[in-house]
């Protein structure tokens, strides 16, 4: 069965003059996933999200939303309907987004802001407003104007607005920025609830990597406008797993010693000369001794592994993947 994708971009590029804010990004977001989009400030996360949600026009590349692909050149698009909308623009009805800060009218209440959005989107049922305000925990705000809301309340209003048309795909740019720990937890719980209860696919960017790792099922790392890597949460866990890494001349002979001599089964061979052993880490010296005694030339042996934050920092910065500890 082929994988179902909500979003696929192909060599998406955005330039501002000579500066390439986003360069050749080909991202794949699977249906039902929470996709963590990670990058430093100015790496191109927001620009990428704006292009996907239709707020910015790409310079080059295509966007495929729910299987509908955009034209290559936006300024010369021909495949549009009577109202000047492309197929991708029509698919954007299925997207809810909160990019940068939530869009709102400060002089209106939360319900009034929601009413504007309800009318804009042509939603007939008025009850959607109290339901969503209840869902994000803003029922008690009543006549309080949004300009008097706390940062967390504004973010929750932004999420309520993004959820207005019951989207299949939610794009959230730094939704926990500026929130206190309890606000962060509230938003995290809300996202998990949306993903599990409403089966909404979520693309979320954040600086708070530890928080992101609590919700994301897949990750994309962007650096200087380029998507440098995409991987699953399991893969990440695997990469960060603490292990004994040995560099030997003959991995087959070493594997035989590990299995037959020491009874070790939990290991892998990622490279022609590398073996990673995931059990009996406290007996590293004995393992080394057994390998040498068995006639294997042991070139290197070390304990490696990182926490998620450290791993991400290595990816985002200049460090190499799997730095020794």
């Amino acid at each position: 069965m082929s994988m179902e994708y909500v979003l696929r971009t192909h060599n998406l590029t955005k330039t501002f003059g000579k500066h390439k804010a986003v360069y050749n990004v080909s991202m794949n977001v699977r249906k039902g996933d929470i996709y963590g989009f990670i990058g430093k400030n100015g790496a191109g996360k927001t620009t990428f999200m704006k292009m996907v949600s239709g707020l910015a026009n790409p310079t080059e590349g295509t966007i495929e939303l729910f299987g509908e692909k955009s034209e290559q050149m936006y300024s010369k698009r021909k495949n549009i309907d009577l109202f000047g909308r492309s197929k991708v623009e029509l698919q954007r009805k299925r997207i809810g987004c909160l990019i940068e800060e939530p869009g709102y009218y400060p002089g209106m209440t939360a319900a009034e802001n929601m009413e504007v959005v309800r009318r804009n989107l042509g939603i007939a049922e008025k009850k959607v407003i109290p339901e969503l305000l209840h869902f994000v925990g803003l029922t008690d705000t009543k006549r309080k104007k949004v300009k008097y809301f706390s940062m967390g309340m504004k973010q929750r209003l932004g999420i309520a607005i993004a959820l207005m048309r019951n989207p299949d795909f939610l794009i959230l740019d730094e939704p926990i920025n500026g929130l206190d720990p309890s606000g962060i937890k509230e938003i995290r719980d809300l996202l998990i609830k949306l993903n599990r209860e409403r089966q909404i696919t979520i693309l979320i960017s954040s600086h708070i990597l530890g928080e992101l790792s609590k919700v994301a099922a897949r990750y994309g790392i962007i650096r200087d406008g380029s998507l440098i890597e995409e991987f699953d949460a399991e893969e990440l866990e695997d990469r960060c797993k603490r292990c004994q890494k040995v560099v030997v001349d003959d991995t087959a002979a070493a594997a035989r010693i590990l299995e037959e001599g020491l009874g070790i089964r939990n290991y892998d061979v990622p490279d022609r000369s590398v073996i990673r052993i995931f059990e009996r880490l406290e007996e590293a010296a004995d393992i080394n001794k057994a390998l040498i005694t068995g006639g294997v030339a042991l070139q290197e042996s070390m304990l490696v592994g990182q926490d998620l934050e450290g791993y991400f920092m290595d990816l985002l910065g200049d460090g190499a993947i799997g730095t020794k500890r």
Partner: protein, 277 residues
Amino acid sequence: MNNLFSAELYKWKKSRGFYVCLLSAVCCIVIIWLSFLLADRIESGQIENGTMGITVSQETLEEGQSESFLDAIDIMQIVQTFIGGGFSTLFIAIFICIWVIGEYGKGAVKNVVGKGYSRNSIFLTKYFSSILISLVLDIAIVIASVLTGMAVMGTARIGENFFKDCLAYVGVQLMLSVAFSGIIAAIGEFTRNLAAGIGISILLTALSSTFANGLDLLFKAMHIDFRVSAYWITNVIENCPIEGINIDVVGSAIAVTIMWTVISLFAGMVHFHEADV
């Protein structure tokens, strides 16, 4: 587009800025009329000169001329001052800038762009709602000017052609207002910054007709038979006569309105279509 327009109407209804703008304009008109009344009373000796800071100089009064200040003016002249003299255009310019640029200030435009509507229809809705609001402001200013004028000067001063002339004049001005507010909406879209938008709009309202007149003189000096002021919107608004509006005046107003409406609509639409939000 119906959905978008419904949302615009709701925002308009909830817009405190609109009511403040409308009330300020009406209050200004009432205050100006009351100052005329006060000047008239001072002139006729009923109130001491200098009352409430108003001093009336009677030295220039010629022999045989009426001593009543109000006798020297009529309601249509005052309506012309308010509608064609930069008063209503100033209020319209300020409010439309707030109306259009306000969408960008707190990012509310992001709630509608990329939601299945073409950018053209989003801009068109904003453009037409701006025009509608400017027409309402214009009509309110006319009504306030006429009613306050009638209250101050009395209905005896209303001539038999007053309402005919007034309707013809206001009709032409409302038509021109469509183009003017369209230009301001386009400026708002281009600048997307409240200070810049209001600043440019005020400059346009206050100085552009003088600039156009200057260009006329320049062209005349260069023996070029072209009058910029005949085609520039604020000049046409200013120069619209209050009596004897004929087919030439109407025809010229229609041409100028269509020209500037099309230009501002096209420019705004192209910019909104291409620019990032």
